[in-house]
């Protein structure tokens, strides 16, 4: 699918991006959040939520030990219960990729590395490319890059586009998620524009946030991004995945995202290949809710491992 996209086309592509009605988007998201997901569909959604989690630790204090613990949790979220699936991936800083790779060996869990001067993206393109290459060389299956919001907000869409194209190339076989950091983009119009830009530049996934900026993922922002994906797929035929990240801590929130996904992009997107949840503390709440659905009672927090 080698469609030529000249930079003058990029300009018209950006100008041609439809506006988003803020009130309408928020109303629609709020109405979807009221869906009542019960019993069998709740269990299904919770199971999917685990399979879609990018279990994340992005702290300055991350050590090989911390990463090892997280990997163990990701592979086997509930020891002794084989019906609980593994998470989709472990998401870490580039310097911890090798540790994660080691501890995930033989499992289905993938290694996702943030990159490109995460979280600000304020560095030299050459440095960002080098970082991506090193992360992939160390074994990253997936790369979560941040866009250059400075360039985007100053109107330099070309720079953002170029950088994503270059990072995609540097990724090689690794799977590219592009973080828009919607909390810094200011309007839903910008979110939509950045979504189209990232997808046109080759993103395999678009992702809401780094988790380091407030607000991080919200339901309306996710709706706007999913609508952009829907339009992009209609135009190009290429499916792009979606990853909300930051602030998703409860099962209830996770289910709300799945409902918006289901009713916007459809059942085909309800798979870890096309949907991820970036989260650090969500997993235990999901496990707790699954137990609640199965047994009818909440279990003590002490039955769930803290890693």
């Amino acid at each position: 699918m080698a469609t030529a996209l000249s930079l003058s086309h990029l300009g018209s592509l950006m100008r041609g991006v439809r506006s988003v009605d803020e009130v309408g988007a928020e109303e629609r998201a709020a109405s979807l959040a009221k869906r009542s997901i019960k019993k069998s569909s709740k269990l299904w959604a919770l199971d999917l939520a685990i399979r879609c989690i990018d279990l994340t630790t992005l702290e300055g204090s991350d050590t090989p030990g911390k990463v090892a613990a997280l990997c163990a949790k990701g592979i086997r979220p509930k020891p002794g219960d084989p019906t609980i699936p593994s998470v989709a991936a472990i998401c870490i800083y580039p310097a911890r990729v090798a540790d994660a790779k080691l501890h995930l060996r033989g499992s289905s869990v993938r290694v996702a590395s943030v990159a490109t001067a995460f979280p600000s993206g304020q560095s030299f393109t050459s440095v960002k490319i080098a970082e991506v290459k090193e992360a992939v060389a160390a074994g990253a299956d997936e790369v979560d890059m941040v866009i250059d919001r400075g360039a985007f907000l100053s109107g330099d869409h070309e720079k953002v586009y170029e950088e994503i194209v270059a990072v995609k190339e540097a990724c090689g076989p690794a799977h590219l998620k592009v973080i828009l950091e919607t909390g810094e983009l200011g309007t839903y119009d910008s979110v939509r524009r950045a979504s189209i830009l990232a997808m046109a530049a080759g993103a395999d996934f678009i992702k809401t946030s780094t988790g380091k900026v407030q607000p991080a993922a919200t339901l309306p922002v996710s709706l706007v991004m999913m609508e952009a994906i829907r339009d992009f797929v209609r135009e190009t035929g290429r499916p792009v995945g979606f990853k909300p990240a930051g602030g998703i801590r409860t099962s209830k929130q996770a289910i709300a995202y799945l409902v918006v996904l289901y009713e916007t992009l459809g059942a085909e997107w309800m798979t870890p290949e096309r949907f991820r949840l970036g989260a650090s503390t969500l997993l235990n709440d999901v496990l707790m809710q699954i137990d609640k659905e199965r047994t009818g009672a909440y279990q003590s927090g002490d039955y769930f491992t803290i890693d």
Binding site: V23, K34, D47
Partner: protein, 509 residues
Amino acid sequence: MAIAKRPRTLPTHAPLPSPPPDGGRGRTELAKQTFEYAPAPESIDHVKIDPRYGLFIGGSMVAPHSKKRFPTINPATEQKLSEVVEADEVDVDHAVKAADKAFEGWARLTPSRRARYIFRLSRIIQERARELAVVETMDGGKPIKESRDVDIPLAAAHFFYYAGWADKLEWAFANRKPRPLGVAGQVIPWNFPLLMLAWKIAPALAAGNTVVLKPAETTPLSALRFADICMQAELPPGVVNIVTGGGKTGSLVVTHPAVKKVAFTGSTEVGKLIARSLAGTDKRLTLELGGKAANIVFDDAPLDAAVEGIVNGIYFNQGHVCCAGSRLLVQESIAEPLLEKLKLRLGTLRLGDPLDKNTDIGAINSKAQLEKIEELVESGVEEGAVIYQPECKLPERGYWFPPTLFTNVSQSYRIAREEIFGPVLSVLTFRTPAEAVEKANNTPYGLSAGVWTDKGSRILWMAERMRAGVVWANTFNRFDPTSPFGGYKESGFGREGGRHGLMPYLELV
């Protein structure tokens, strides 16, 4: 910038990565199933519906004079819910006399005390919201999410708003002395039973009038519940009276000589009959009748929001909405992508058990209404319009009609001119704003309209030229008690809601 000159190619993409390998932990049994919302029915155990009801006259439920009764059924199941009275001349006379007797005391009551009663009604509606929502849904067929999130909260808000006016009438109309009229005879429709009751009763009571209200034949139960609320609020006897029945009872209410003010919401056909029957009398009259609203989408509109607005405009409450956006006027240049999105969206609408919290489209209110919709839809097909209905399984029992969309519609088709009052949308196209206005106004009705565009100046330009009581911009079917609502032309006259809504209930001296 050197790089800017070089044409780029879109990078080629590796296929999406294959799913994680199955073996060992990882894939669960659930992963093989597809997602479907499990039933989530609202509980009805807490709602007791009596097998038969009397009439609410003079502050209590009384045995009727009339021996005639008729069943009220649940349109989603065709099961009988209860039996109500078809009030006769004697019953209506009792009710009007009770209201007339109560008028003096109510009108002379200290306004702040009157306000207190109305606030109390609002509060009890809030407290009993769940019960009222369930009754509304069972009796009328509307989805519980709508009765729960729209009908009942708005009804409470209406009483709350007008309670505030009760002791400020002197300030509502500068240099005029407001006086109540007397007994108001009110006849309401079946599409928003409790909400329409609130629209009628709240301003009447705030202005110091007393009321005889007749709910619609097919949806009397929430009004009878409201009778119970009046008793709970210890409203003085006779201030509110509720008589059930059909068209005959309604005509007895509006023509009763002691009724000083008539308010009717319903079909244009009946509205005309009422206007005729009241000609030459000194009764005041307001009518809120039918509509054939245009929802106008310009090529710069936020399309996804517009699609939601169109869906909300015509499929909300199965299209049983007088201000429904039943004609979609879309600028020709974006008709194709808009319709594609719209059709996709129709596929996600969930039709079924109105009591299920995830239901978007409930049951058609009555068999008669279903037949009317079917007849008009047939005429659309015959006249040459192209019909689209998403794949949609209709329940075996009950009255149902799938969300329907007609393209290739001409202004001259019946489906573009007559009010269908069902989930049926007629799509027409236009080329210029002037043409949009012309087509939008080319109807005997004039209740509402919608404009979708990113351009603020165009919204104002359109709103100035549209012959419609309400023009919504980038939204649809939005209601607030502070905002007056009413029609142009054959959509009626008089305004309900806001300060304007007090006027029909006051003599301004």
